[in-house]
């Protein structure tokens, strides 16, 4: 099974180059924030392993909010951030990217501070500017771009064929129908109109590393458990104190800011989300967010790897990254549906999960015992989120028009087609997918 990996490259933008860089990045777009796969700078259409990618300029618009906590904000110069999720190792992808798009990458990164135009090893430079996420979520571990595209083609073809068969012959018995459809697919594959590649084996050592993580994290926690148990009364006493006293954001997002955000929403069935905020001061908050992210990363890796993250089934990829010596957190996600329905899920389905992590961010609505409250303060929450949200300069998704649920259904369609000995009722539910 091919594994997905992520990359993130950040570099400070030269102070006089911000607007030039924005103009350049936007020149990649066919609609606001929406990349043309055949843009001049990065030929996304050639990159068969790339699921999603985006350029975002991380700006600390809400930097002053931390003053409410009696803390001077640290400096954060506008920083270019290039992230993506790929099949296989990120290193390999970046190497290929450099081969395919070196001039474009140079043109982009030449707006950044420590990029010398004579930098002779671009790949090394990219590696030097890479950041690892603290937590990473992948909707469906192991499903490659190639697979997503092949299965979509399969589903479209099957659906059309089924329609034809029904028009021609009326209702057939399910088993008969499936046999006809199977024969059709075999023909299409022989004629090279369809392709269904076999999954590749997992790279060497992957299973072992995964196992070590699977066992290692709980083991480490178990070893620390006595200590944590002893500390917990103090932890919770202090937490409750902070929860009662931490200032909340009271400001509305500026209308122009909102406008910049919604301008690039709902162009595809999926949207992209960036939140960039500050971590509340103090060690307790840092510890809490780190534990929260650890838990998130662990469960995403071992449990939430097949189409859902707790109750939410609309996120393709998401990551949480601590930046600026853990003073800031960046959250980026790719999700289906409108921002309003995304926030609706946040509030009504996973408020507790959001609270666990984001209540450690400056301005977040008040929580109780870390899990309660917070996002449940609907309008306060939406405001705070929107205020700390950033637009992307350019966003790419390899399968426009398809939701995570579509991809999952397509995989089930293929699985049902290939199932060796399905029962009648399995065949009926398979046909219902079409």
């Amino acid at each position: 099974m091919t594994q997905q990996s992520t990359f993130m490259i950040t570099a400070v933008i030269r102070s006089d180059q911000l607007t030039n860089l924005q103009r350049l990045l936007r020149s990649m777009n066919q609609a606001p924030g929406f990349a043309n796969p055949r843009n001049r700078l990065l030929p996304y259409w050639q990159m068969q392993q790339l699921h999603v990618a985006r350029f975002t300029i991380l700006q600390a618009n809400t930097n002053d909010d931390i003053r409410d906590y009696g803390v001077e904000p640290s400096d954060w110069p506008p920083t270019l951030c290039f992230i993506g999720d790929v099949d296989g190792a990120a290193d390999l992808f970046l190497a290929e990217l450099v081969i395919r798009a070196e001039p474009g990458l140079r043109e982009i990164f030449s707006h950044c501070e420590d990029f010398e135009s004579d930098c002779d090893n671009l790949l090394q430079w990219l590696h030097d500017h890479s950041r690892k996420p603290s937590a990473n979520y992948i909707n469906w571990r192991g499903r490659t771009v190639l697979q997503a595209r092949e299965e979509q083609a399969l589903s479209v073809a099957l659906r059309a064929r089924l329609n034809d068969l029904q028009q021609l012959q009326g209702d057939l018995r399910p088993r008969q129908l499936r046999r006809q459809l199977q024969a059709f697919v075999t023909e299409e594959i022989a004629a090279r109109r369809l392709r269904l590649s076999d999954p590749l084996p997992a790279p060497a050592g992957w299973h072992l590393r995964n196992l070590i993580n699977l066992v290692g994290v709980p083991l480490a926690l178990l070893l620390l458990a006595p200590l944590m148990l002893l500390a917990s009364p103090f932890y919770f006493a202090r937490l409750r104190q902070l929860e009662e006293s931490d200032p909340e954001n009271t400001q509305r997002p500026e209308r122009s800011h909102l406008q910049a955000l919604v301008e690039q929403e709902d162009i595809d069935v999926s949207n992209h989300f960036n939140v960039f905020g500050q971590v509340k001061p103090g060690r307790l908050r840092l510890f809490t967010i780190k534990m929260g992210l650890l838990l998130l990363d662990y469960t995403s890796r071992h449990i939430y790897k097949r189409g859902y993250l707790t109750r939410v089934q609309t996120i393709h990829f998401a990551r949480w990254v601590l930046l600026d010596n853990n003073r800031r957190v960046y959250f980026a996600s790719n999700y289906d549906g409108s921002a309003d329905s995304y926030m609706d899920d946040f509030i009504n389905k996973v408020a507790w999960g959001l609270n666990l992590v984001f209540s450690n961010g400056v301005g977040y609505p008040r929580t109780r015992w870390l899990l309660k409250g917070g996002a449940e303060y609907e309008q306060k929450y939406k405001r705070t989120l929107r205020r700390n949200q950033l637009p992307s300069e350019s966003w790419y998704k390899a399968y426009p028009g398809l939701t995570a649920y579509d991809l999952a259904r397509n995989s089930r369609i293929r699985a049902g087609l290939e199932a060796p000995d399905p029962s009648d009722s399995e065949i009926r539910s398979w046909l219902a997918l079409l």
């Binding site: 089924l162 209702d171 129908l177 709902d266 549906g337 409108s338 309003d340 609706d344 303060y377 089930r412």
Partner: protein, 499 residues
């Protein structure tokens, strides 16, 4: 939850409580203010119908609502206007991003609208006049006396001669409405509404009361020191030191929707191979009810809060029809109100709640894809327009008939983005509602393909034991020809705004 102050029906416009169904004719006047002083005087003394009950029922009713430009024109301070919701302030037709979200693109786009699509054609206010059909014209004449004519210029007049129970496609409408919890007896605790309930917190339909989150929706609040008379406005329940300009008011969405009745029935007839029974079935599947309003779903066995078991037309949910074999997943009524609870079906104790909260225990593919209904309910108050064309007439070869017919769609609610916009966008316009692959609302969809050219003009009728019947190439049946967002203030607030 502590019981809040008693309801002052005198201060609430009647339309919130009553649909004025006995007054089957109506005229919605879309007005611009021509003379500020005259407009204030007229509005301030207008006999706006309140929500108090009266027997016999009144002979006529008058309601009024304002757009954001209207409130500004009346001189309401900018910081108060700004405290109304963003959607209201930017307006229904004023932002291409909103239009994209609502499916107001292509032939639905505001640039083609008769009214509301540009600043010039956006009214300042909406005056709603309800009367018996025989009395509407004389009532309008009596309203349009010289002071009125001096105060306002009229952009358009949306008249309903006779609002029967059936909308123009021929289906009984106005059957399902939320039951408003006027007494505020039901807890709005977020964790106590696992299942669908038809009872709706007062704060969902009126500003100034607790909503389904147990919170008060943002609205303009004033310092009493800034107001000349301290009884001019009600107190804010959540911040008693402030006065509440929003209390007892709400937002009103008005969309003029032209319906292609001929197109609808001819398409359906075509799909049915001209078989009358199949024709009825397909049309009913698209709406999600039979023409006489009968649901496609058997009555629910268990109790539904806010719905009487004797109410055959409404006592149902889709809980026992997860795959849409009874009522298609994509049917209009199932989209517009999926009758979903906070948790999917099957949660009845803390353990199952925990399991589902963590995302496990889904019973079938597609389970738990749809948001909880109670945060997205609409109080519908629409009226039909145009000369009736029965399905039978619609099927006959078109005699030349350029008459337009349709719906003056109206809904009320305290939060336009969470209610109307959410329902219109995520549930009706979306071609991915509840995991469906390629269909938007069979009645409302604009049929525009997605960015990758994928179609949105399908409609699938799932069948038990056989592949779904998938109808393709649905034409557009409903076209938006005008619309705006209004604020319908409480009556004290109206006096305050027009003082």
């Amino acid at each position: 939850m502590t019981k809040t102050t008693d309801i002052d029906y005198e201060d609430i416009q009647g339309l919130v409580r009553f649909g004025h169904g006995q007054l089957s004719a109506s005229a919605f006047l879309l007005l611009k203010i021509a003379d500020l002083e005259a407009a204030r005087r007229w509005l301030n003394s207008a006999a706006i119908t309140s929500a108090t009950e009266s027997t016999p029922a009144p002979q006529s009713a008058l309601q009024v609502a304002f757009t954001a430009p209207g409130l500004r024109a009346l001189g309401l301070a900018e910081d108060l206007v700004e405290q109304l919701s963003d959607e209201f302030v930017s307006g229904l037709g004023g932002d291409t991003n909103r239009s994209r979200r609502l499916g107001d693109t292509g032939s639905n786009a505001p640039q083609h609208w008769r009214w509301g699509g540009s600043a010039e054609t956006t009214p300042h206010l909406l005056l709603m006049v309800y009367a018996d059909p025989t009395r509407l014209d004389s009532l309008l004449t009596s309203i349009r006396e010289p002071q009125f004519e001096q105060a306002f210029t009229q952009l358009a007049e949306l008249v309903s001669r006779h609002n029967g129970p059936r909308e123009p496609f021929g289906f009984v409408d106005g059957i399902s409405q939320p039951l408003i919890d006027w007494q505020q007896q039901v807890s709005t605790d977020l964790h106590q509404r696992d299942r669908y309930s038809n009872r709706l917190a007062l704060g969902e339909v009126l500003l100034g009361y607790r909503n389904e989150y147990g919170l008060y929706t943002e609205r303009p609040l004033l310092n009493p020191l800034d107001v000349d008379r301290d009884d001019a406005l009600p107190d804010a329940e959540d911040q008693p030191q402030l006065l509440d300009l929003g209390r007892n008011g709400t937002y009103l969405v008005l969309r003029q929707l032209a319906q292609d009745v001929r197109g609808f029935w001819q398409f359906v007839d075509d799909q049915a191979g001209a078989d009358p029974q199949q024709r009825e079935q397909i049309a009913a599947a698209m709406v999600g009810r039979q023409r006489d309003g009968t649901p496609l779903i058997a009555a629910a066995g268990e109790a539904i809060d806010g719905s009487e078991p004797s109410d055959r037309q409404n006592h149902f949910t889709y809980a026992r029809d997860p795959h849409g074999h009874g009522c298609p997943i994509g049917a209009h009524v199932r989209r517009a109100n999926p009758r979903s609870g906070d948790f999917p079906v099957g949660v009845d104790n803390w353990l199952s709640r925990l399991v589902r909260t963590l995302g496990f225990g889904r019973r079938h593919h597609g389970d738990d894809l749809v948001a909880s209904s109670r945060f997205h309910r609409l109080l519908r108050r629409g009226r039909i327009y145009g000369v009736e064309l029965t399905p039978e007439q619609a099927l006959q070869a078109a005699a030349d008939d350029s008459e337009e017919r349709g719906l003056h769609f109206i809904c009320l609610g305290a939060n336009i983005s969470r209610q109307f916009e959410f329902v219109q966008n995520a549930w009706c316009a979306s071609s991915k509602f509840a995991g469906l692959p390629s269909e938007s609302d069979p009645l409302l969809g604009n049929r525009e393909p997605l960015l990758n050219a994928a179609p949105t003009d399908h409609f699938s009728i799932p069948r038990a034991g056989a592949p779904a019947r998938c109808i393709q190439g649905l034409p557009q049946f409903v076209r938006v020809v005008g619309g705006a967002y209004f604020f319908m203030p409480g009556i004290k607030a109206l006096r305050f705004i027009t003082r």
